[in-house]
């Protein structure tokens, strides 16, 4: 075991994993964390805690992850390279592991101009692949990045990263995944999948290189709430592809939200059948209360207890 987290145990035993996502509050209101955590409890193996997602200032992912641990849940702490240089990154990893955080997702982060502090200076001292390499160095070599300097104590982290099979250039996406694996990533969560054909094509490229045996891939899904949301995402969010037939299906449905959940469940069932997909990552944005229903309908419950 690299970190001994619940997520690592589930994946290493070949159990189909389920992760959820929790966006920290735009302030210090702990009750928001508690409410969202309660909605996810029992339905997922670990919960991603976003790090100022879309560059909107929120409670720090370390603090929120620590609160989740106190509430008896397992966090996947997200960390972006947008806001921290390598000094802050390594210091935060010391702190996070001291607080009992065992999973970490290494990200570059959304550009700061998308958020509410557009005049800030972005950092990007490292990119996400260099961040993976940094965490692996700390864990496996027991030293700081680029140095011989020994770390006091042991860094035990199950290292994750994101990958987007829907970004361009498409053929580069697998090269990038291979680089992440070489840098030391243990698991991958993908961008939300609607274009199943393209995802399958990507997975085939992954298998052709044998990468699926060297990393756990968790397929990302996001239930669509309405036709408007589907249209908005398809048009405005770079790196997300929603095929027209899916938009049509949600737009034409009598109850779009119900249809969205149904579609999401169908997608999970299809994803389960793809060789090399070891779990799903459910990103129910401000719709956390549906995760129970989705996992139930997809036959993913009860979540196993592993020791």
């Amino acid at each position: 075991m690299k970190a001994g987290s619940n997520l690592e145990k589930i994946l290493s035993r070949g159990i189909f994993a389920v992760t959820g996502e929790l966006g920290p509050p735009k302030g210090n209101d702990v009750s928001v964390v508690k409410r969202k955590a309660d909605l996810l409890k029992g339905y997922v193996d670990a919960i991603n805690v976003t790090d100022n997602q879309t560059a909107i200032v929120r409670m720090s992912s370390i603090a929120t992850s620590s609160l989740l641990i106190q509430m008896g849940l397992e966090p996947v702490m997200q960390m972006t390279t947008r806001d921290r240089n390598r000094i802050a990154i390594q210091s935060d990893i010391f702190g996070a592991t001291a607080l009992g955080i065992k999973n970490m997702l290494c990200l570059t982060g959304d550009h700061h101009t998308f958020g509410n502090q557009v005049d800030s200076k972005n950092v990007h001292d490292l990119d996400s692949i260099q961040l993976i390499d940094c965490v692996r160095t700390m864990r496996d070599n027991g030293t700081l990045l680029g140095g011989e300097e020994k770390i006091e104590g042991e860094i035990k982290i199950f290292i994750g990263a994101a990958e987007n099979p829907f970004g361009d250039p498409f053929e580069f996406r697998v090269i990038r995944l291979a680089k992440k694996i070489r840098a030391g990533v243990d698991f991958i969560q993908t961008q939300c999948i609607y274009d199943m054909n393209r995802f399958k094509e990507w997975m085939k490229m992954v298998r052709d290189r044998g990468l699926h045996e060297r990393v756990h891939i968790l397929a990302g899904v996001t239930p669509l709430k309405s036709g408007g949301m589907a249209r908005y995402m398809a048009k405005n969010v770079s790196g997300i592809i929603i095929p027209d037939e899916i938009i049509d299906r949600i737009v034409k449905a009598k109850k779009p939200a119900e249809e969205g959940i149904k579609l999401c469940v169908e997608q999970i069932q299809q994803l389960k059948e793809i060789e090399g997909v070891h779990g799903v990552h459910i990103m129910a944005i401000e719709w956390e209360h549906m995760v129970g229903q989705i996992t139930e309908m997809a036959g993913l419950l009860p979540r196993p207890k592993v020791e």
Binding site: H111, Q130, D133, G146, N164, D168, P169, R176, A178, G239
Partner: protein
């Protein structure tokens, strides 16, 4: 070359508000090429300022000069006589030129009339685009000759982020994704395998722009 753009008129007028006689100095090098601070722009700005001040009922006298390169001591010294006859200098050279004048004329207020924007290339006449951030340890040899430091909004060294869509950057839709360009070029050169190599964390702090004042010394040239 260095690219620059004229500052807003109100800002410039603000700097020279309390003076009745100034020198407007352009530069015959980079900023002439990007039509921000050459001889032509000196005259245009001079007329604009004179007209604006006249309208305010507070006319100003403006001397004009455009040295070949404001950032070189010998050219900066050409201004000496004129500087002695004015209350302040407005420079429409890049930030380097402004500071060269500051070094040589310690007793005269010197103001910038341009915002120095980037090191760039002429895409076509009238369009200039950033190509280099003078990071000090060039990565072009590893990235197919296309610079992700200046052309990627996140300065990614190991491939595109998820926001690369149809060849464009999600931050600025008119901008090409640097990594799409790198990928296309390497594919064209049949060198895609070179992109599999992980480029390690960049040495920003010792070899690059965060190392403090950078200085080049060539002993052989100092004689």
């Amino acid at each position: 070359m260095i690219k620059a753009e004229q500052k807003p008129m109100d800002e410039i007028l603000g700097y020279i508000e309390s003076y009745n006689k100034i020198l407007l100095s352009g530069c015959g090098a980079c900023v002439t090429v990007c039509h921000a601070g050459g001889e032509k722009e000196v005259e245009l700005l001079s007329y604009s300022l004179k007209m604006a001040r006249k309208k305010m009922g507070n006319p100003i006298e403006i001397l004009e000069i455009t040295p070949a390169r404001q950032c070189e001591p010998e050219f900066a010294l050409e201004l000496k006589e004129m500087v002695q006859n004015v209350e302040a200098v407005l420079s429409i050279a890049c930030g380097v030129g402004v500071q060269t004048l500051v070094r040589h004329y310690p007793n005269t207020p010197i103001f910038p009339g341009l915002n120095t924007t980037f090191l760039g290339e002429t895409v076509i006449h009238g369009i200039w685009e950033e190509r280099c951030q003078a990071c000090g340890n060039c990565v072009l040899g590893k990235t197919g000759g296309i610079c992700p430091i200046s052309r990627c909004a996140k300065q990614l060294l190991n491939g595109p982020c998820g926001g690369s869509s149809n060849g464009k950057c999600e931050i600025k839709k008119e901008a090409d994704c640097a990594w799409q360009l790198i990928y296309d070029r390497m594919k064209n050169l049949k060198q895609l395998h070179k992109l599999e190599e992980i480029i390690p964390a960049k040495r920003w702090g010792i070899e690059s722009r965060d190392s403090g004042l950078r200085r080049i010394v060539r002993e052989d040239l100092k004689v």
